[in-house]
Amino acid sequence: MPRAKVKQVYFDHNATTPLHPEVKKALVAAMEVFGNPSSLHQFGREARKLVEDTRGKVAAFINASAEEIIFMGSGSEANNTVINLSSCQGYRKCEIPALKPNKREIITTKIEHPCVLESVACMEERGTKVKYIGVDSYGKINLNQLKEALSEDIGIVSVMAANNEIGTIQDISEVAKIVHAAGALFHTDAVQAVGKIPIDVEEIDADYLSFSAHKIYGPKGIGVLYVKKGAPFCPFIRGGHQEKGRRAGTENTLGIIGLGKAIEMRKNEMTDEAKRLAFFKKKLKAGIQKNISDIQFNGHPTESLSSTLNVSFGGAEGEAILLYLDLEGIAVSTGSACASGSLDPSHVLMATGIPQEQAHGSIRMSMGRETTEEEIDYVVERLTKVIKRVRQISTVAPGEKHG
């Protein structure tokens, strides 16, 4: 049965982004390039040139040098690679071992992406000591706790630049200073930051920094790890000379070219876009505040991504909100346990100390380059309707204290 086409509003850019039209064009053109960049003949040389061009672009974008850029399969792989340094026992031509045996402990935060937390948990099970730094109610990490946790046994400290769920931005330059003063290496997962806020590896003084193309209108399946010149390294994927032996596997030429174009576009668009989105976010926030009672915004009120708004609705469960919004053509995500497949609500929201029911009732809206002011109005209108509906079904009246 044919259905009336519903308006579509994509408010889930922190999950992934649509391809930039220019990236799409670049990808179509790049499909003609099939040579293996490692081959010495003209087909290989053509591919090699495109790969190295992108490396240069990526390096310039974050103020690194080309040889400090390693292409990988994803941001998750980049993060896994760094955390795994702590288990490197030395292997053949490795800079052996990556970290001194008495300097392999890890510090990270409670709000990292699962690809960091799971990798760290794996190291922990193998005997590495790990410390987890908490955050305040806005999701800012506790720098005093970090200072106290640091010791000469700490090898790596990994702190994300901007949080995917609540958008809170950390003072990573400050973190790097503290970490380096204690003689440890600093890694930042900048998947949600690169291409949204200015990132300069020299200014931050990061030893390692990860990001991914598909969060910035590039293709999926391509990530980047920046490794500061001279910083210890141990490959996670072995068995090839690619990326100077630091990441085996034939280069994802198509992905790399798409990433290059995405970066080029970010350079032109990100500053104006951030301003536009900051205005939209203000409007969205005001609209929600005006029309819906018993709400709570999660994340830092000012030091957060201008694209990201996380809000909890009293007496309404997140998955139900998400699916009713989906029927209205609006795509968002939720920190509710019900939606995740696991049965725990968002670890990020729980780390900020909010009650469990507030986490269950949370919705994350993340806007992007194609978001319009009209969409903000539409979302506020439909969200108001949906929350009213969910609360009508709910056992909990809005504003009702429970516990």
Binding site: S336, C338, L343, H360, I393, T395
Partner: protein, 206 residues
């Protein structure tokens, strides 16, 4: 892209989610003969079920509900209300989570607990009816103790799971979904698991 194609759950779940049946709109003006609440919003699901009973025939003539929870929790209570109306109290008492899931055309593995809550909320309402009528011999709640607050799983169900073959915590969870929400009852339920194992399947002395 059709935004309703390939929905997360079955068409039946979607139908009930979009058009919930027998929703309780005004609790204060609804004259119920029995009322049951199960679950906890901290765990992500809470269900309220209210029934009207034909006292002569012991038949449920009306069933209204409210649910704080996800789409499958809402659909589970909605379909439960349809299943309950017209049944005798004894029949309704026997409605299981399996019946609810079946009526919905199936639920994904991690959503079975939604249907587990539904049948318990109904039984709580029936128990409440019996309590109000002074028919305490019919009340099951009194004889059982809820161990898992999130899902309302009782010691009797742990006992049953052991009798059906659960021998460790994992198997117990597989059968009852106990402790799969907040997990706080783990210690208590493991203790009971050991007690029932010792009671029914003692290790013979040499």
């Amino acid at each position: 892209m059709d935004n309703t194609s390939d929905w997360l759950y079955t068409e039946k779940v979607k139908e009930h989610f979009m058009h919930p049946r027998n929703l309780l709109l005004e609790e204060s003006s609804y004259q119920a003969d029995g009322r049951g609440v199960i679950g906890n919003i901290k765990c992500g699901d809470e269900m309220l079920v209210m029934i009207k009973v034909d006292k002569e025939k012991n038949i449920i003539t009306d069933c209204k509900w409210k649910t704080y929870g996800c789409a499958s929790a809402i659909a589970s209570t909605s379909v439960l209300s349809e299943l309950a109306i017209g049944k005798t109290l004894d029949e309704a008492y026997k409605l299981s989570s399996h019946d609810i899931a079946k009526a919905l055309g199936g639920l994904p593995e991690h959503k079975i607990h939604c249907s587990v809550l539904g049948d318990k909320a109904l039984r709580a309402a029936i128990d409440d009816y019996y309590t109000r009528k002074g028919m305490l011999d019919k009340v099951r709640e009194e004889k059982e103790h809820i161990i898992c607050q999130c899902l309302g799983i009782t010691d009797a169900e742990i006992e049953n799971a052991v009798l059906e073959g659960a021998r460790n915590y994992y198997q117990l969870q597989e059968r009852t979904k106990i402790g799969t929400v907040c997990g706080k009852c783990k210690e208590k339920s493991m203790k009971l698991l050991d007690e029932y194992k010792a009671k029914y399947f003692p290790i013979p002395n040499k």
